[in-house]
Amino acid sequence: MLEVSGLKVKYGEVEAVKGISLSVPRGSIVVLLGANGAGKSSTLNAIAGLVPATGKVTFEGELLSGQPAEDIVRRGISLTPEGRRVFPSLTVAENLHLGGAAHAAGEVLKGRIEAELERFPILRERYHQKAGLLSGGEQQMLAIARSLMAAPRLLLLDEPSLGLAPLIVDKVFDLITDLRSKGLTILLVEQNAERALEVSDHGFVLQSGQVVLQGTGPELVRSDLVKQAYLSE
């Protein structure tokens, strides 16, 4: 579904991503693992069009490279950025509205908001509150719901469990499996390698902007590299 080849991202003189190639099959969950600064977020941002990159990105057979973020989301790829980044002074309602405003209008838009409120009942309770007043977990739900308002076929999730209480982390991973079961394809960046590999079909390990290892979830869990670096046993 998504094919990335030879992707490079440069910030000034610093090359954060040095020619990554990966593919995400339809209906799968794929995870990118790696230490801080390995180039995981840069890879997601480059796919979403937020940062300029070279290399080739194709989605459902169409070339995406070079298109701005506004257009890529219209093609069906939604990114939930690291740190949630909800609009703090806007209400939950307004955050959701903006998530879908460029993709639907009128009754369709209302229907999508209703669907997200069904999925995340907590957001219905907080509907008219400012997003900045929500707890971290609630903000993460809102951020994901807002990304889903665009009705994407591929969801890019950047560190969705970061900084959340264990109970909430469970919820997030339940949600990820649930979304996949409803037909969504997911490309996930996670620090929590153990949990991520449990839910993933395939994983890539990044080091210094390059893919050093890849395989199915179970394969990676067994690999020495992953064991040493990312799994605490």
Partner: protein
């Protein structure tokens, strides 16, 4: 007592104009980090819009519409042809661009229209006063208070109820994420400029109602006041801009009214001195803009 009451009305009326101007600056600054010193020239353009409308004998309401439309169009044109190509520049680069736009427009007015001021006569009914017995209130201050209130209400409605308004508020907080939602950056920025143009147009009408003329350099003083007001309020904060505008207007009128005669020539020094005190007390302004987590 009645003098005090009158000075209060004077202060609110002047503060309202400053508030509209400061809002115009803040709307753009909050989204693109540009302090648009050409904002004053948008007012001048609005003034010429009124002048030309009256010169071709259009009814007065059309002159008002012309002011707002001209200012809005000028704001969009400067955005498209001056600021958009400089989008990637840093804050200093944008600031210098706005100085350049301002200087170019002034020379265009001077050499293309006239270096002399042009009379913009208002209907005679507007220059009177309403006598309430115990005190009277001028029609122009009254109208400017009403106009300011209506404009603020309309802007609030726009920002809260419309998708574009919400998008502008969101853009002020996190522009990148807004783009991730599929909302076009250029569109939001253009709307911000258009809104600032409309605000400049309305402020220009109120400003011209006081002075009765438009000249090429008309925008210089108001844009400085607007800048001071925006800083008092908290640069980039919309409610701060309104608060700062009123604070500046009230300070100016009260110092003018109640300073001793001998100190009057130094009124502006007193006002700015007080502004400095405010900023020592609240370095980020009265109502600071939410600090965006990434810039």
């Amino acid at each position: 007592m009645d003098i005090f009451l009158q000075q209060i009305i004077n202060a609110i009326s002047l503060g309202g104009i400053y508030a509209l101007l400061a809002l115009g600056l803040a709307v753009v600054f909050s989204i693109v980090s540009l302090i648009n010193f050409a904002h004053g020239e948008l007012m001048t353009v609005a003034g010429y819009g009124m002048f030309f409308a009256i010169a071709v004998s259009l009814p007065f309401p059309f002159a008002l519409a012309a002011a707002v439309i001209f200012a809005c169009a000028a704001a969009l044109l400067t955005e498209r042809f001056a600021f958009r190509p400089m989008r990637k520049a840093d804050m200093t680069g944008l600031l210098l661009t706005s100085f350049a736009v301002s200087a170019i427009l002034r020379v265009l007015f001077q050499n293309g229209i006239s270096a002399r001021s042009k009379a913009v006569p208002l209907p005679a009914e507007l220059s009177g006063a309403i006598d309430l017995g115990f005190f009277h209130i001028g029609i122009v201050p009254l109208l400017s208070i009403v106009t300011t209130a209506l404009s603020l209400w309309a802007l609030t409605l726009f920002l809260r109820r419309t998708t574009l308004g919400k998008a502008m508020r969101a853009a002020a907080e996190d522009f990148q994420v807004l783009r991730l939602m599929g909302i076009k950056a250029n569109r939001v920025i253009a709307v911000a400029f258009a809104v600032s143009g409309v605000l400049a147009g309305v402020a220009a009408v109120l400003w011209i109602a006081q002075r009765g003329s438009v000249d090429p350099l008309m925008g210089f003083v108001p844009v400085l006041k607007a800048f001071v007001a925006a800083v008092i309020g908290g640069l980039g904060s919309l409610s701060g801009a309104v608060a700062g505008g009123f604070a500046l207007g009230i300070l100016e009128v009260l110092f003018q009214a109640f300073l001793p005669e001998a100190a009057l020539p130094f009124r502006d020094a007193f006002v700015l001195g007080f502004v400095i005190l405010i900023l020592i007390w609240r370095p980020d302004g009265l109502i600071p803009a939410p600090v965006s987590r990434r810039s």
